[in-house]
C-alpha cells in the first residue's frame, strides 16, 4: 500500500509532539530530587494516576496490535483484550495496596523490603531491565508502523524519532511528565476510540465497501478453467494464456498472461475456477512489482470485506448497534486473506489469496489459536492457548512500568482507587477493540503487508482529519508507554543497581543524573531493537513480555505477600528461574525460529508462549529454595507496618511538589 503524508496529519502530529515536550519542560523545572524524578514525589491524584495507568497500559500492542489481530483472525485477537483486562484483577485484588505499602521507587524495593538483600536487588533490577526491553520492542515497532502513513517516512525514521522524543521527555522530567503525558494520551485514546466505533456502527456493513464513496469497491475477478492436471489447465476465456502452474503445499496458483502482462490466480480445483489474487513479485534483477506494476502506480485493491451477510451477496446495512453489528457478521461470510511465497522461474512471488470464512468461525476462537481437536488441534496447540491466557492473566501485575505507578500516589488507598479507575477505563477500551477490529476487517481498508495498520487505516476511511487525530494519538500512545518503560528501566539501573547495590549509595542529585544517563542508554537499545523486529505483530511480541514478567516477577511478589516462610534465597531463585526458563523457551520456540531467526527447522520447544511451564517452575523454585534455606536466612525487617516504613522513607519526598493532591 502507498502512503502519502497529508499536511493536516503532519500538523496535528507536530502539535501533539510540541504539547508533550512542553509538558516535559514544565515539569523539568520542578523535578530536583530522586523521589520527584522516579515517583513524581508520590503526589499525583489517584484519578489522574488511574487514567495514566490506562495510558501506560493501552500501548501500541493494545491499539495497533489487538485491532490488527482482530481484523486478521477475528475473535482470537479479542482474546488478548480479555486476558489483558483480566490481569488487572490480579493487580487490584492482590498487588496494589501491598506494593504501595512496601516500596519506594521500584518494584525491587517491595521485593526487598523484608530482606535487605543485595542478591534480590540485583536480580530484581535485571528482571526489570529485561522485561522493559521486551516490552519496548513492540512499542518501537508500532512507532515505525505509524510514521509511514502519517508522515510518509520509512519505518526506521519512526523508530528513531520516538526514541529521541522519549529520551527527551524522560531525561528532562522523569515520572511527573510521563504521568501527565499518559493521562492526556489515555483520555484521548478512549474518547477517539468511542468516536471511531460510533462511525463504524453508523456506516454499518456492506458486501461492497467503498470507504464512504471515496474508493470504489473492487470485485475480484474469476476465470473458468477446464482439463485441470497437476501442471496444466485450459483457460476458457481465450484472452488469457497459461504462463505457469505453481504449487505451495496443497495450494495451486496459476500465472496467466494477457496483453503482455502477467497476473496470478488461485485455483479452486473443486469448481474449476481461478480467482484473482494480490501479489508482490520480486524479479531476478531486484525490481519489485505490486499487482504487476511498480509501487508508485498504486495498483492496490481493497482488502477486507464480507461476501455475504445472512446469505445475501449484495446488501448494505446502515446505522447499526453493537448487537446487530456482531450478529450480522456472525450470520455472513468474511473474506480473509492467506499468504503464500512461491518461486516462479528466476522470480519470487508472494501471493495473497482470498479465504472466505464463515462469520460464526470469525466470531469464535480457533482461527489463530487452534483449540478444537476435531479440527486438527494438537496438544501443543492447546497448551499454547492456555499458556498465552495464563501469561496475560499473570503478567499485568508484574510489569515494572505498571508497578512503579503505585509509587506516584500518596497512599495505599489512592493506589487502590487509581487501579479501579484504570480497570474501568481500560475495560471500556477493550470492549471497543472488538468493533474497531471487526470494522477494519469488513471495510476494505486492510494493508496485507502490515496488520498493525488496521485501526489507523479504518480511521482513514472516514476522512483524513479523523485519521490524523487517531494516528497522532496512537503515536502519543507509543511515546507515553515507551516513556514509562524507560523510567522503569532507568530506575532499575540508578536506584536498584547503582545506588542500593553499591555500599555507599548515591547522593540525590547523582542518582537523578544516573537515571537520566540510563534513560538515554535504554532508549538507544530500544531504537536498535525496534528496527530489527520491524515485521512482527506488536501484540504477539507483547505476549512474550507478559510471559517473562509473569514468570520472573509475579511468583516472588505473591509469595512475599502470602507465604511467611519465603526467604531471600527463594526470591532470588524464583526470579532467576523465571527469567531463564521463559527466555530460554521463547528463544527455542517455533515462532522464534520462523519469525526471528528465519530458519526452516523444527524448533525443540513446541509452544510459542512459555508461561505454562515457566510460571509454575518459578513458584516451585521459590518454595523449594525457601524451604532448604529456612533458618539460614532470616528477614531483616519485619513485614512493614505502614508507619515504620514511612518514617524510614520520606526523605526528599515531602519537599517535592509536583502537584498538590488529595484523595
Amino acid at each position: 500500500m502507498n502512503y502519502v503524508a497529508s499536511p493536516w496529519a503532519v500538523g496535528i502530529f507536530v502539535a501533539f509532539v510540541a504539547m508533550v515536550l512542553a509538558i516535559s519542560y514544565h515539569f523539568a523545572r520542578r523535578t530536583k530530587t530522586a523521589a520527584g524524578y522516579f515517583a513524581a514525589g508520590g503526589q499525583i491524584h489517584w484519578s489522574v494516576n488511574g487514567v495514566a495507568f490506562a495510558g501506560d497500559y493501552l500501548s501500541a500492542a493494545s491499539f495497533l496490535g489487538i485491532c490488527g489481530m482482530i481484523a486478521t483472525y477475528g475473535y482470537d485477537g479479542f482474546l488478548y483484550s480479555i486476558g489483558y483486562l483480566a490481569g488487572w484483577v490480579v493487580a487490584l485484588f492482590v498487588v496494589a495496596e501491598p506494593m504501595k505499602r512496601l516500596g519506594k521507587f521500584t518494584f525491587t524495593d517491595a521485593l526487598d523490603a523484608k530482606f535487605n538483600s543485595r542478591g534480590i536487588r540485583l536480580m530484581g533490577a535485571i528482571s526489570t531491565l529485561l522485561v522493559s526491553l521486551f516490552y519496548l520492542i513492540p512499542q518501537m515497532v508500532g512507532a515505525g508502523t505509524l510514521v509511514t502513513p502519517l508522515l510518509g517516512l520509512p519505518h526506521e525514521a519512526g523508530v528513531v524519532m520516538v526514541g529521541v522524543i522519549v529520551v527527551l521527555i524522560v531525561a528532562t522530567a522523569g515520572m511527573a511528565s510521563t504521568t501527565y503525558v499518559q493521562f492526556l494520551k489515555g483520555g484521548l485514546l478512549i474518547v477517539f476510540s468511542l468516536v471511531l466505533v460510533f462511525l463504524v456502527l453508523s456506516r454499518g456493513l456492506t458486501t461492497a465497501p467503498d470507504q464512504g464513496g471515496n474508493v470504489p469497491a473492487h470485485r475480484y475477478a474469476t476465470v473458468a478453467v477446464s482439463d485441470v492436471t497437476d501442471d496444466s489447465l485450459t483457460v476458457v476465456d481465450p484472452a488469457y494464456t497459461l504462463g505457469a502452474v505453481l504449487h505451495s503445499g496443497p495450494l495451486v496458483f496459476v500465472r496467466l498472461e494477457k496483453d503482455g502482462e502477467s497476473s496470478y490466480w488461485k485455483l479452486d480445483a473443486a469448481t474449476s475456477v481461478l480467482t484473482e489474487t494480490e501479489t508482490i513479485l520480486v524479479k531476478a534483477d531486484g525490481t519489485t512489482l505490486y499487482n504487476g506494476a511498480p509501487k508508485a502506480e498504486g495498483r492496490f485493491f481493497q482488502v477486507g470485506n464480507m461476501s455475504d451477510i445472512g446469505g445475501d451477496a449484495d446488501i448494505t446495512l446502515t446505522t447499526m448497534d453493537l448487537l446487530s453489528f456482531s450478529a450480522a457478521i456472525k450470520s455472513g461470510t468474511v473474506v480473509r486473506w492467506g499468504k503464500a511465497s512461491v518461486p516462479d522461474g528466476t522470480d519470487h512471488v508472494t501471493i495473497f489469496y482470498q479465504k472466505p470464512t464463515s462469520g460464526s468461525d470469525v466470531m469464535a476462537p480457533g482461527l489463530k489459536y487452534k483449540v478444537d481437536a476435531a479440527k486438527g488441534a494438537t496438544t501443543a496447540d492447546r497448551l499454547n492457548f492456555i499458556s498465552l491466557m495464563l501469561a496475560l492473566f499473570c503478567g499485568t501485575a508484574a510489569l515494572p512500568h505498571i508497578l512503579i505507578r503505585y509509587y506516584t500516589v500518596k497512599s495505599p488507598e489512592a493506589a487502590r482507587k487509581s487501579t479501579i479507575v484504570a480497570i474501568a477505563t481500560i475495560g471500556l477500551f477493550y470492549l471497543l477493540t472488538l468493533y474497531m477490529g471487526l470494522g477494519a476487517m469488513t471495510s476494505g481498508v486492510l494493508d496485507l503487508t502490515n496488520d498493525n495498520m488496521a485501526a489507523p487505516l479504518l480511521a482513514k476511511s472516514f476522512g483524513i482529519s479523523i485519521f490524523a487525530v487517531i494516528s497522532a494519538i496512537a503515536f502519543a500512545t507509543v511515546l507515553g508507554t515507551v516513556s514509562g518503560l524507560i523510567v522503569a528501566a532507568s530506575g532499575a539501573v540508578a536506584h536498584d543497581l547503582m545506588d542500593r547495590l553499591s555500599k555507599k549509595g548515591l547522593a540525590e542529585k547523582k542518582k537523578v543524573t544516573a537515571g537520566k544517563i540510563a534513560a538515554i542508554g535504554v532508549g538507544a537499545v530500544a531504537i536498535v531493537l525496534g528496527i530489527l523486529f520491524k515485521s512482527m505483530n506488536v501484540s504477539f511480541l507483547v505476549g512474550w513480555a507478559f510471559a517473562v514478567a509473569a514468570s520472573a516477577n509475579l511468583p516472588s511478589i505473591v509469595m512475599i505477600l502470602f507465604w511467611k516462610r519465603t526467604t531471600s534465597q527463594g526470591v532470588i531463585a524464583s526470579i532467576t528461574t523465571g527469567l531463564v526458563a521463559s527466555l530460554g523457551l521463547i528463544l527455542l520456540s517455533q515462532e522464534t525460529f520462523d519469525l526471528v531467526y528465519h530458519v526452516q527447522a523444527t524448533a525443540p520447544v513446541p509452544v510459542s508462549n512459555p508461561a505454562i511451564f515457566s510460571v509454575p517452575l518459578s513458584f516451585l523454585a521459590l518454595v523449594v529454595v525457601s524451604l532448604l534455606t529456612k533458618g539460614r536466612a532470616k528477614a531483616v525487617i519485619p513485614a512493614a507496618p505502614a508507619e515504620a516504613e514511612a518514617v524510614a522513607a520520606a526523605e526528599g519526598a515531602a519537599a517535592e511538589g509536583v502537584e498538590a493532591a488529595d484523595d
Binding site: G42, L85, F93, R101, K104, V371, S411, P412, E413, G427
Partner: protein, 93 residues
C-alpha cells in the same frame, strides 16, 4: 539509603480485612476466567453455541470484562466501608 515508601500515610486498621476480601474476589474471578479457558480448550463447540443473536464466546468474553469492572467497584466500596469503620474505632479508642 532507605527503600521504604515515598510518602507518609495513616496506619491502616482495615488492612487484614482488605487482604482477605481481595483474595476471595481474586479467586472468584480466577475461577470464572479459568472456566473460560477450559471451555475453549476442552469443549470449543460450546463457544459457538448461540446466545440470542450472538454466541457464548462473545457473551462470555464481554462478561469477563464487565465482571472485572463490577468486582472492582464492589471491592472498592467494601474497602472504603472497612476503612471508615476502622477509622471510627481508632477515634473511640
Amino acid at each position: 539509603m532507605s527503600h521504604g515508601p515515598a510518602t507518609e500515610w495513616k496506619e491502616d486498621g482495615a488492612s487484614a480485612y482488605k487482604t482477605r476480601l481481595g483474595v476471595i474476589m481474586f479467586l472468584v474471578y480466577a475461577a470464572v476466567y479459568a472456566a473460560f479457558i477450559l471451555i475453549g480448550v476442552f469443549a470449543p463447540s460450546w463457544m459457538r453455541a448461540d446466545v440470542g443473536s450472538l454466541n457464548v464466546a462473545i457473551v462470555y468474553g464481554f462478561g469477563l470484562i464487565v465482571l472485572a469492572v463490577v468486582l472492582a467497584f464492589v471491592y472498592n466500596h467494601l474497602c472504603t466501608l472497612a476503612e471508615r469503620r476502622a477509622g471510627k474505632k481508632e477515634e473511640i479508642l
